[in-house]
Amino acid sequence: MTDLAARLDRLRGDAPARNHDARTIAALTTNPGCGRRGLMDAAGIDKDAVARYLGFPAPFGQSQFAIARGNAFEKQVKDDGFAELFTLLRERLGLPVPQVAIESLDEVGGNHGSELRHAQTRRALARALAGDGSTLFDHPLLRLDIAGQPAYLEPDVLAFRLGDKFYVIEIKSFAIIDGQADPEQVAAAARQSAVYVLALRRLLTQLGHPATAVSHEVILVCPENFSNQPAAAFVDVRKQLSVIERQLSRISRIDDLVAALPEEMTFELGDGLASAIRAVEARYAPDCVSSCELAFFCRDEARACGSTDLLGIAVRDDVGGVETLATALGLADGSLAPSPEQVEIAAKLRLARLLRAQALEGVA
């Protein structure tokens, strides 16, 4: 065990480690610059439990109806040896799917350990690449180096091999209606799939195969119109791939973050938790609420220090990146002397304040 891994284990304390899942990956791709989230995810910390302990429970309940619907749809697609899926691939997407062999990778002899499962995924894919393995892999466990630290991804996806090409298949239960689906949900699915494509590509490269063996087109399987009938569509994730690769390369390195912390620090539930968390800088944005369990804690923190981050990136940009509400207002009413780089925005804020006042007095 490396030093870093030992430090991360200490940060996590006795709690079991958590793998990256859809939500942490969404957070990773929407707000990669947040050191707090990055560190906690790298250490496999249960942020939900942390947030609850701190009195800022995350707003993510999941409705059992939504879960049931998702499971029922997935089961339907997978039933009878994935019969519906293969029909779709052949008939809708025109793929020449030959005889298939399916391999489930969600456990190794009853063991769900990440390292074991990843090793198994690796072996299975290596066999497939050698030409005598399966063609469809259910629940592969992938690994991706995030911020210099290996992270296991627990994707609810399938990897499908056709000839010498691999495809990521994602089953989602939002509907495609008249050929269109909710753009936000499609975008989220595309971002997620892109992370899996990337992880799969890295694995194949390690096995000595070109990254392009994994298609940049992922296959999205969704119910069609108002029925339960599945439909499939290719989604090109090249754009998302390049965004994620860039974000991963820019991310603050976990070892640097850890090095800056006191040796004995831990995120274990207990009295010192809040101050330990505050010691790692966060980058709060209002939409954190949709992807990170700690969002309400960070929002409270941003509020306490009167940060312009509270109002969203657009507002912050409009006031020239000024960091606090007090500074912005001080520059606007002239009570605060602008620094050289604030001269321009200060003039604009003063004028904005004047114009607002004039308009509200009714003397336009």
């Binding site: 707003p59 309940g61 999941q62 409705s63 059992q64 109806f65 939504a66 879960i67 049931a68 619907r69 998702g70 239960s173 939002f174 509907a175 209606i177 008249d178 050929g179 909710d182 119910p223 119109n225 108002f226 029925s227 339960n228 209002p286 939409d287 609420v289 509020r303 009167g306 312009t308 509270l310 109002l311 969203g312 657009a314 507002v315 409009d318 006031v319 509400l325 007090a326 912005a328 207002l329 606007a332 604009k348 804020l349 004028l351 904005a352 304040r353 004047l354 114009l355 607002r356 004039q358 308009a359 509200l360 009714g362 003397v363 336009a364």
Partner: protein, 502 residues
């Protein structure tokens, strides 16, 4: 967003109460809007669960689907909703006015139009899907539905299509209406929650904006405004109630289960119902902008036109053809331009945004030559000079054309710009004579505002007829072939009738 709006938000955040973004109301608000709060079953595209509907605050109708997975019950709900919505639509057709036409005969236009208010944009998305899932239903053959159901689908589709048009007031999400008129001290992301937004605008006695907003984020105190319900409610209340309904052995037990379900859903909907009407009160307190009547006339025009076509017509197509899509896009872009200009002209606070960016300037007339004539041409033309002093940042230069915000159709040429004063040569909007109409030329001491933009007339681009749709746009759309699953219009195909709506 702009620096001006950003500043308003920052002020709101610092003071703990919302700040105005408008001095007038930029949307129509009729005497009798239909408030409609739909709820759907989580995880489903458009399976209705309940709705609270009505035109009177004291008298909401509650519609409930006792088992959203049951097809008959869902269409029963659609029929109940249809009865309410269609009678509302009909009540808007009571009066007409005569619009002059070229042939002198005149035609009739309804003097009112429906106005449906939903809590948020999600409500519109839901109604659009409900419209899509009902308008192709058949009243005969397999899985017949009541005749009102497909009709409801067509009206919902019209409402949702019209709602895309900037400036239309026939179907509006309350969160967008409020956020267009006031700035809160939270992000636009959080403004999407009607309760939190209204918390800032109108906090309960003894609370600040942020306190009220925080309270509104607790789904137990303030249930979400839909269409998706609170997961906690789903798991702890709704699931057992639906299960009880399914288990109920006899009619009487079933009725009791339905009653319990209705009570639970009423508790989820009533807080939002109150929020909707409080929002309406807040908006009513604002005076209406000058151009609102004109835009509402457009809505009444569209309403009249659509209503005339209903008895004979077909349900709206699933997808626009390329030509229809291009036409729609042009219409929407033009409406947006028009709306932007009209809002600025109607509202000094909106105009302030344009003054901040230099697209407009306001100031005082310090010198004027109201009877100046331009004698360089064959006939002398009336071209008064105005000198305007302003402290606004100026982005205009010699030779630019500007428009008088206070007088429609009055243009001026910028002759000279010099350290906070602008010399303008008025060229129109003064009558046809060699002496200006009284009052048409601003006088010394008047406050004036000139803009670089105006509500211009646009000529419609010529689009090819359907059969000449270029290959870049998919070529000419296929004609309708009976039984063809991909046919766009009517009658509905077998597949449509079988869509199970789950």
């Amino acid at each position: 967003m702009s620096t001006l709006t950003a500043l308003a938000r920052i002020e709101a955040a610092r003071t703990g109460s919302a700040q105005p973004l408008a001095t007038v109301r930029h949307c129509h608000l009729g005497e009798q809007p239909l408030v409609l709060i739909p709820l759907k079953l989580s995880g489903e595209a458009a399976a209705p669960l309940a709705a609270m509907v009505g035109t009177a605050r004291k008298d909401p109708a509650l519609l409930v689907v006792a088992q959203p997975r049951n097809r008959d019950l869902r269409f029963g709900f659609a029929a109940e909703l249809a009865a309410l919505v269609l009678s509302y639509v009909e009540s808007r057709q009571a009066g007409t006015e005569t619009v002059p036409t070229k042939d002198g005969e005149g035609r009739q236009r309804y003097s009112d139009a429906p106005q449906v208010l939903v809590p948020n944009p999600g409500g519109i998305t839901f109604l659009r899907l409900l419209g899509r899932s009902t308008r192709f239903r058949r009243i005969d053959g397999p899985y017949p539905v009541e005749a009102s159901v497909p009709l409801l689908g067509r009206w919902l589709t019209w409402l949702c299509d019209r709602a895309e048009q900037p400036g239309s007031s026939v179907l509006m999400p309350m969160t967008s209406m409020l956020a267009g008129h006031w700035a809160t001290g939270q992000s636009t992301f959080e403004d999407a929650n009607l309760g939190a937004l209204l918390g800032w605008l109108d906090p309960p006695e003894g609370m600040t904006g942020p306190q009220a907003a925080l309270r509104a984020e607790d789904p137990l105190l303030c249930p979400p405004a839909g269409p998706t319900t609170d997961p906690g409610f789903d798991n702890e209340e709704l699931a057992p109630l639906l299960a009880a309904y399914d288990r109920a052995p006899a009619d009487q037990a079933r009725m009791a289960a339905t009653d319990r379900l209705r009570r639970a859903l009423r508790r989820q909907l009533e807080p939002t119902w109150e929020l909707m009407w409080r929002s309406i009160e807040l908006l009513r307190a604002l005076p209406e902008g000058a151009h609102v009547t004109g835009r509402w006339e457009g809505d009444r025009e569209s309403f009249t036109h659509f209503a005339e076509g209903v008895p004979e017509g077909f349900p709206q197509a699933k997808r626009d053809s390329a030509v229809a899509a291009a036409r729609r896009l042009i219409r929407l872009e033009r409406a947006q331009d028009e709306l932007d200009v009209q809002r600025a002209l109607d509202d000094p606070l909106v105009m302030a945004e344009h003054r901040l960016t230099g697209e407009a300037f306001a100031g005082i007339v310090v010198a004027a030559q109201p009877d100046r004539l331009d004698t360089t041409g064959k006939t002398p033309k009336l071209r008064p000079y105005l000198q305007v002093r302003t402290s606004d940042p100026l982005r205009v230069a010699d030779g630019d054309t500007v428009h008088n915000a206070g007088r429609k159709g009055q243009k001026a040429l910028v002759v000279d710009v010099n350290a906070g004063t602008v010399l303008l040569e008025l060229s129109s909007g003064m009558g046809r004579k060699r002496v200006a109409e009284p009052g048409s030329v601003p006088e010394v001491g008047d406050r004036v505002c000139f803009t670089t933009f105006a509500a211009d007339f646009h000529r419609s681009p010529v689009l090819p007829p359907l059969e000449q749709t270029p290959w870049t746009h998919g070529g000419p759309p296929e004609a309708y072939v009976p039984g063809d699953d991909e046919a766009v219009a009517y009658p509905p195909t077998a597949a449509d009738a079988l869509e199970v709506w789950e």
